[in-house]
Amino acid sequence: MIRHEGGRVLATLVRLTGDITLAEDAVQDAVIEALRKWPIGGVPDKPVAWLTTVARNRALDVLRREAKRTAKETDARLLDEVTLATREDTSDSMVRDDLLRLLFTCCHPALSFEAQTALALRTLCGMSTGEIATVFMVPEPTMGQRISRAKKKISSAHIPYRVPADHELPDRLRSVTAVIHAVVTAGHHSPEGSLDARGDLADEGVRLARLLHDLMPDEPECTGLLALSLATTARRDARLDREGAMVLMADQDRSRWHHDDIAEAAAMLDHAIHLRRPGPYQVQAAIACLHGLAPTFADTDWEQIAGLYVTLERFTPTPVVRVNRVVAVAEAQGADVALALLDQLDEATVDRWHLYWSTRGELLARSGRTDDAAVAFGRAIDCSPNDSDRRFLVGRRHAIADKR
């Protein structure tokens, strides 16, 4: 409870003090006090308000001490502001605004993408520096330095703590959604070790997506991002077999999918589409929902999915989108049409990408070119990033060789 509600308390404290580090320390102290007092006296009626008050008083103490020690004009002024904010405003609407401000500050484009992601996980998901370092596979001191530099930049460059104006919003939202999408993706498809090694990170990503959607319910791309995150992670329990090898969507046990998540995603997407402002997350969510709602692999609406990929390619013309479109086209129109589409890609850009080679291998195998297929799978295995993928690809190469 404390870990997740901590984000709300922190967001309010950042508004009151204007200083992320001071706010973090104060919330930390409040949490320690809660852990000491609550087991004895019971959890208070309004735990969030309780934590906010204790943290605010802690921040006041620190500011008073600082003001006395250095006779600093700024701290004295800040002290007045914090004291004046005695309204104890922890109303839902105020807290929502606080969270939004914090989210936009953490994801400000003047910070590097890595710093944006780390700050969002730290402030809004309550993850420790050590946990974030593990997730992004960097040493803890490196991550600590990255976070403290970002916080220093926020304060010394005066990165504002506010929700952007309407005309800035499309740009600024793009960096917020990119951060959240990266968190979900890194969690759902671990770049190293087993595919599901970072399931907890995927949960945090979905939590952030839900937070953003709750805060901006009329922004269809925010809703699209949540729908995409839900519909994608709904397949989490069906992706690996007992030996830890990846299972293709075609062979997954669909009874192990989280159909409640898929239904929620479909309903959300429906709402977003009615706002009539399409975008890449909505299109990707539509694709994920079509997969999720199909009773079997064969019964999937491949024509519609292939069409959606054409739309997605207009928004984001990348090799990743093209390869995914090719997979759908192969189901809808056959391997030869799909291979022709794949051939249009500049091979230099996909040379080290395992999914390009495995897709090529599958299509070649289907059109009977087994020797070429084996070579493609060899390339895929060479550049495969994690154990689950590699084991799967080795299995596929054997299966195709056996067919000869």
Partner: protein
């Protein structure tokens, strides 16, 4: 009389650990220079910048006014383009500073790096 901009290059404070004593000695040297240069009537103004880790670079895409503004973390590091001048902008926050910086022609002819100036009146 000709006017010159003296641009000061040195190790980045982000990467050094200057002790308060060393810092005070350096500041005393700078004060000494400022006093003498001012007394000689050659000093037109100057500022100390925050370390490069606080820098933000803006670039307007397309080589013409009004293109999309791209904002990146960090100082501008490109050996082919060199520092050609600077403006001092008084703004409420970084967003306002970036808003103005993106309207300097250098933002589409090259890049404009925005770095907060150290405010010595607040202490460091």
């Amino acid at each position: 009389m000709p006017r010159y901009a003296a641009l000061i290059y040195g190790p980045d404070e982000t990467d050094t650990n200057t002790s308060p004593e060393e810092w005070a000695a350096v500041m005393a040297d700078y004060d000494d220079f400022s006093v003498r240069a001012a007394a000689a009537g050659v000093l037109g103004g100057g500022e100390a910048l925050q370390e490069t880790s606080t820098a933000t670079t803006v670039h307007v895409i397309g080589g013409a006014k009004g293109g999309e503004v791209v904002t990146t973390d960090g100082p501008f590091a490109e050996t082919k383009e060199v520092l050609g001048g600077f403006f001092l902008l008084d703004c409420a926050d970084l967003d306002e500073a970036l808003h103005w910086a993106a309207q300097i022609p250098g933002a589409w002819n090259g890049r404009v790096e925005v770095r907060p100036v150290i405010d010595f009146s607040q202490g460091q």
